[in-house]
Symmetry: C2
């Protein structure tokens, strides 16, 4: 069991703790704040609510979380140490002095700092090679980006390990080899923040109008394509150079007041705080956190369906976890053909629930359809085969809803082939949450020629695999509910 | 039939043309570019592919699109004139001179300008009162934001009309009463662009790294909450003032090079163009446009499911269109009880299709479930009733998939009550695309007490409405396929 040490809790340290814990690591925390456990607990509750269902494959069992009175105890056995103490250099250096003495020689020390360069944190320590900046974004348990900033004192193996661990916990290491104040992303936030402060100060726009200018316009675009790719597309066939030829001269226009920094007077602070209250005060912060996480999960899962952006990152993470989750991709992977096939192991996502407070009916079919897809992959009807012109279409479906299930609950689907012969494939799925049976899905599918859209026999290897499974499953007792019609007696 | 005139095509003018046309307006275009019809056609193709399925209610029938050789012909009968000619003041003023002569006195003239203030466009014209800035964002057929900038010469009725029309076509008028160069949103883009150019020039990050720093981090947040609301949440219970007290001092740090503007040398242009090719060159621009639109639709529909941000705007637009689409919310709205109830009229969204190139099986149930929800609303089981503790849970479902349907196709669902008595409600949905029967959905639902999660009798008025509908529908011939089991002979 791998161990991570969290030095400094709060929103950021707590977010890292949640990320590691929910990915199966043991997590050891050091934070002298007497409220540390409560604060980290709150972040963990939000994380447990949103992260496990972000992808389509179940995460590992949670690791153990423990709190320690000293740094030396916290870092015992840790292969990753994440420092997230307040942004004061002398405080960070005090921590790094202690770490120098106690961490394992091959452990990685990441700093969440938004304000310091890695060389400033490495300066004067004999274990500088282990120290990197690993700067995350709030909420750390959902946002994939980690700015990984290194210097020449970090050897290749440390950098590779850092990337591997960041990737393993479902995040994206953006490796910046040239250090600069505030790294990359926060420099953009800083630029927008300054401009926004001027707009509020000069009465051009309120905080609410500024936020709407962002989230109803370019803000949505930037969730899936960044600045340069957006402009490339906007530039059309004429290309990027043409786009820049048009846009370049605009840089000389006196558009921006960014040359100056507005004075942070009490008056300005009150103005902003008041407008923020008007804009957002009808929701508590806790409610806004949950709304934010619901939105982030929903949008990232939408990107996942398109295998794009942050969604593509999550799909890759899912794919890497399939084996451990007991999911296979071919007949060879099946250990015991006579048993129903595990075709899904996941956590109910936040965006699968409805106004009744439980997983909504259409998502039962979404899950069963994903299980059908896996069964198809296993028998050889995979993406390559489909691209070559054959597939299965569902002709008829019968679902028995037996029990409720909620966001965050684990679900597993086990699948039997009732019949697989010629053009037909008759499947039976059972959905469980642990021992609880939630639903059954019965489906008749027909193999089709995608060019003609008419039923057609499947390729020989697929028909053979299907027959093999059907024969092996025939030895199982007939499932309860098979062949039901609505209104039939139970 | 309302008419909009589009003066100047291209990506932006074409986007406005598409927006108006798909919302049922006639659109008259003037653009001297011989390629105007082709370019607008390309934008229209992208718009037809993505906008109609963005919401859950069908848009009106498309208006008529026509091209005209003169401005005077183009603006005949137009109540909205959108100017999107190149950003040269003398060219715009030439257009406004012509418009002054020919537009109706109560028409609104909107400019797509990103660079000029409304007073600059109004200057010298006797119909200045009609001229406003209506600045959109690309793609105009999807992004809701319109920065509506006005001056004191625009009377209240003009401003109100402008807001009403912008809202009617599904967009969001952000009314800025104090004009400033570049309005609000582009000032932020300008600030980020400058910073990004420095980072590329100084070799800190490539265009791809910058874009990933955006779209894997704060870019996803900004699709749902803007700068100030995000910071408010991050500030936690301590509040906005505390957050600013911590963040304020950072403004003085020498973080940004924004004081200077980088020189746009050929060298810099080549550097950026080359990195952009490396990053995005494996997709054509047309492919990137479609990927972008797929992502935007998916994410906005995810926000719609949470009734938040751009999704909430779309839901409001849907609600305003229900009557015209033939959808009712109560028994009183039903004209002929003996006929099946129209419970859905919409366009298949882009995110409802799968690898087989058609609407995916689980979305048939998504649609049927939405129709069940509407039937429930009609009989009185609405949001208020559900909040008071009663609802219907689906116990059993049978779906017959009869024909394929694709993104952009219209679908209507008509619903019959087979039986509605005591705790039980037995529904029958038929999904059509025009005359083509696509699928049937048969569902047995049970009324439940949401506190105990056990079946319980519905309120008297609901049971009465259900009985009324069941009795009226009993006179119809039994539907083909009712009571089927998988494997039963056809």
């Amino acid at each position: 069991m791998k161990t991570a040490a969290i030095i400094g809790g709060g929103v950021i340290g707590g977010g890292w703790a949640a990320r590691f814990l929910l990915n199966g690591w043991d997590v050891r925390v050091f934070d002298p704040d007497p409220e540390a456990e409560r604060k980290i607990g709150e972040v963990l509750a939000n994380a447990r609510r949103s992260l496990p269902g972000l992808g389509n494959v179940a995460l590992p069992a949670e690791g153990r979380l423990s709190y320690h009175a000293t740094i030396v105890e916290a870092v015992a056995g840790a292969v990753w140490i994440q420092e997230s103490v307040p942004e004061r250099l002398e405080l960070k250096q005090k921590v790094y002095g202690a770490l120098q003495a106690y961490v394992a020689a091959d452990a990685i020390i990441g700093s969440s700092t938004s304000g310091y360069k890695p060389s400033q944190l490495q300066d004067g320590f004999n274990n500088a090679a282990q120290i990197v900046v690993a700067h995350p974004f709030n909420p750390v348990y959902l946002m994939p980006l980690v700015e990984l900033v290194t210097t020449e004192v970090n050897p290749a193996n440390v950098i590779d390990s850092a990337k591997a661990i960041i990737t393993e916990i479902g995040m994206y290491p953006l490796h910046l080899k040239k250090e600069i104040d505030a790294h990359v992303a926060d420099r953009f936030l800083e630029a927008v923040w300054r401009e926004a402060l001027w707009l509020v100060k000069d009465g051009i726009a309120t905080t609410e109008e500024i936020d709407n200018a962002i989230r109803y316009g370019f803000g949505i675009r930037w969730a899936q394509m960044g600045l340069f790719e957006t402009y490339r597309v906007a530039g059309g066939e004429a290309g990027m150079k043409h786009f820049m030829a048009q846009f370049g001269p605009a840089l000389k226009w006196p558009w921006t007041k960014l040359m100056d920094v507005p004075e942070f007077t009490d008056e300005l602070v009150d103005l902003i705080a008041g407008q923020s209250d008007d804009q957002s005060g009808h929701h508590s912060i806790r409610a806004l956190e949950r709304i934010r996480d619901d939105n982030l999960v929903g949008m990232m899962r939408a990107l996942g369906a398109n295998d794009w952006g942050a969604g593509a990152l999550q799909n890759a993470h899912d794919a890497g976890r399939e084996g451990e989750a007991g999911l296979v991709r071919s007949m060879d992977g099946l250990e015991d053909l006579s048993q129903p096939v595990l075709t899904q192991s996941r956590i109910v996502p936040l965006d699968w629930t409805d106004y009744n407070g439980h997983m909504t009916e259409s998502r039962y079919l979404d899950a069963f359809a994903q299980s059908t897809d896996r069964l198809m992959m296993i028998i050889g009807c995979d993406a390559e085969y489909i691209a070559s012109g054959g597939s299965y279409f569902t002709a008829e479906t019968h679902i028995r809803h037996i029990d409720e299930v909620h966001a965050g609950d684990p679900i597993q689907v086990r699948t039997r082939v009732i019949m697989g012969q010629g053009k037909k494939m008759h499947l039976w799925h059972e959905m469980y949450s642990g021992e609880r049976l939630l639903a059954t899905g019965e489906h008749m599918l027909l193999h089709v020629d995608l060019a003609t859209r008419r039923s057609a026999p499947p390729a020989a290897h697929i028909e053979a695999n299907l027959a093999k499974l059907a024969e092996a499953h025939a030895s199982l007792a007939a499932p309860e509910g098979l062949g039901r019609a609505i209104g039939a007696p139970r």
